[in-house]
């Protein structure tokens, strides 16, 4: 490894490990930690059913920011979630929970 990359790389890895350590790798309690990454909605979280909202947040946030519920109509959300079921290997239960949540909250 090139010398000048050694220290930043070690710092990067340690920072990641530290971040995981700080969070404790604990299983999240229902409803905890649903934090849309859109700064505009952080101050006023939408009151939504926990089950579907959690499944939605868990799976979307793993790769990208969570889009606003109003981004799509109910019918369009059905298409999007079907697409993401295939792409992200969602289970059938997750698929159903997310669609029901989005339709209920839209």
């Amino acid at each position: 490894m090139h010398r000048r990359f050694l220290i930043p790389t070690i710092v990067l890895v340690l920072a990641g490990v530290l971040a995981i350590g700080v969070s404790g790798c604990s299983v999240r309690a229902p409803g905890q930690g649903i934090t849309p990454q859109d700064g505009s909605v952080l101050q006023a979280p939408v009151p939504v059913p926990k089950e579907g909202a959690e499944v939605w947040a868990d799976n979307c946030m793993r790769c990208h920011n969570i889009r606003p519920l109003t981004s799509y109509s109910d019918a369009q959300w059905e298409v999007v979630v079907h697409h993401m079921r295939v792409r992200a290997n969602l289970t059938a239960v997750e698929h159903k929970a997310i669609v029901e949540f989005l339709k209920g909250a839209n």
């Binding site: 000048r4 990359f5 971040a19 995981i20 298409v79 290997n89």
Partner: protein
């Protein structure tokens, strides 16, 4: 006596008056026989109807072949009837409009995708602006069938000539067989690691460029042509997912002096009638953490070349979570790819000018990336900022042509205008082992997911 009888009486009187008037106007006191017969026929018919009404008191129902024409008066609607009629018409129009809206809303076709505009200034190269448009077409045919396709439009400079390059990134049909199995076929993003399949869209990728194992000339396949089987299952708190595929497979570069021994992943026709088999299995012990293992085995040499098998393996790890103690979201990812291609002798006769060439064809590369976004900060500007750093490297076999081990360290600052709209600025420190010139570069990129 009802109004019908009265109308007939008036008609008889008018008929009689009309015949007398016509007689008076004519110089001849006799009418033609033909006219006479016609008038007599009308008179007899009307007389018969009057006689019948006198006996029954009910008007005779007109027969379809009735030749007698009776005058009618326009029926005047009452106010209530007019309102009812208007209400019915209004209801019909409203229902039609609702049906039209419902049809539009239930459309199962959706265009999504992303677009980018960028600027790159790399040491030793001319700075350059760039743009890309990548629409994704989704069509849900029914509850089980889905078509998805992505086309990439990108500006390219080929041999000094600018042109718009069009690539079909993927186009496949998938079928939800049951709760645990999805089958699909076509061209698909290869389920190998995380970046190629899930993170490469510009509005998702936190830096403007791809990590070395996945970029141009990388070690991992990005897309494949074939069929796949995939799905997910949860066992209590732990979730497992899988994706396996059979595809045409990569092609071993045997004829290019500077690329001999590398695998070409963007050839979409089988060159040796031998299919590649690959897949990825992932486990999520908690929702925010995922570990994955990927593999691909393939016979990669073209017909006429000696038999060469290749095994590519990858491991990936991701951890994304809001951490209260840090007041924001931490996104940590690491991936490593190992490529092992059987040794072969390239250009054995020396006819291509670079052989015979043999080397131990093992390569590996990976990246570690950490991002932090203070999403709970009181300042809106800070909430929209994201700090990113990534170290990536690739190590090529000694003796391989154009052997240039490379490693890079990139620092990025992102500003999120919306959940799928971001402006990225990044500076990359880059170094190639056998290249005296650094690969440092500055990037600006705006990305929009739609």
């Amino acid at each position: 006596m009802n109004s019908r009888v009265f109308q007939i009486g008036i008609l008889l009187a008018m008929t009689a008056t009309n015949s007398h008037a016509q007689e008076a106007l004519s110089d001849d006191k006799y009418v033609p026989r033909e006219e006479y017969e016609q008038l007599k026929e009308q008179f007899d018919a009307l007389k018969a109807e009057v006689d019948k009404l006198k006996t029954t008191g009910q008007p005779q129902k007109p027969r379809p072949d009735d030749t007698v024409k009776t005058p009618t008066t326009e029926y005047q609607l009452t106010e209530q009837e007019r309102r009812s009629r208007d209400q019915v018409i209004s209801d019909i129009v409203e229902n039609w409009q609702l049906n039209q809206a419902s049809l539009a809303d239930s459309s199962k076709f959706l265009i999504a995708g992303y677009a980018t505009a960028g600027f790159t200034d790399q040491e030793g190269e001319d700075s350059n602006f760039s743009a890309k448009l990548v629409p994704v077409f989704l069509w849900k045919l029914n509850d089980r069938l889905l078509f998805e396709g992505e086309v990439e439009f990108e500006l390219e400079n080929v041999n000094g000539a600018s042109e718009t390059e069009v690539n079909l990134e993927y186009a496949n049909v998938s079928y939800l067989l049951n709760d645990y199995i999805t089958l699909g076929a076509g061209k698909f993003l290869t389920p190998f690691g995380l970046f190629g399949e899930r993170l490469h869209p510009a509005w998702i990728n936190k830096l403007p460029d791809a990590p070395l194992p996945y970029g141009s000339g990388g070690l991992a396949p990005m897309s494949s042509v074939g069929f796949y089987m995939r799905g997910g299952v949860a066992v209590e708190e732990t979730k497992f997912n899988y994706a396996f595929y059979v595809s045409n497979g990569p092609n071993l570069n045997t004829a290019t002096a500077t690329k001999a021994g590398t695998l070409i992943f963007d050839n979409y026709e089988d060159i040796n009638n031998n299919k590649a088999i690959g897949g990825r299995v992932g486990v999520l012990p908690v929702p925010e953490m995922e570990l994955g293992y990927s593999f691909q085995v393939a016979r990669v040499a073209p017909d006429g070349f000696e038999r060469v098998d290749a095994v590519i393996m990858g491991v990936d790890f991701s951890y994304v979570r809001y951490i209260d103690a840090l007041g924001g979201i931490v996104d940590f990812r690491a991936e490593w790819v190992f490529s092992d291609v059987e040794n072969a002798t390239f250009d054995p006769a020396g006819s291509l000018g670079f052989g015979p060439l043999t080397f131990d064809n093992k390569r590996h590369g990976g990246y570690v990336q950490l991002a932090y976004r203070p999403s709970k900060n009181s300042s809106e500007i800070l909430r929209r900022l994201e700090f990113v750093t990534r170290w990536d490297m690739i190590e090529l076999p000694s003796g391989a042509p154009d052997e240039t081990d490379e490693q890079r360290l990139t620092f990025g600052l992102n500003y999120w205008l919306a959940p799928s709209t971001v402006v990225k600025a990044a500076y990359r420190l880059g170094n190639k082992e056998n290249n005296a010139e650094d690969q440092n570069a500055f990037f600006l990129q705006a990305a929009v997911g739609f």
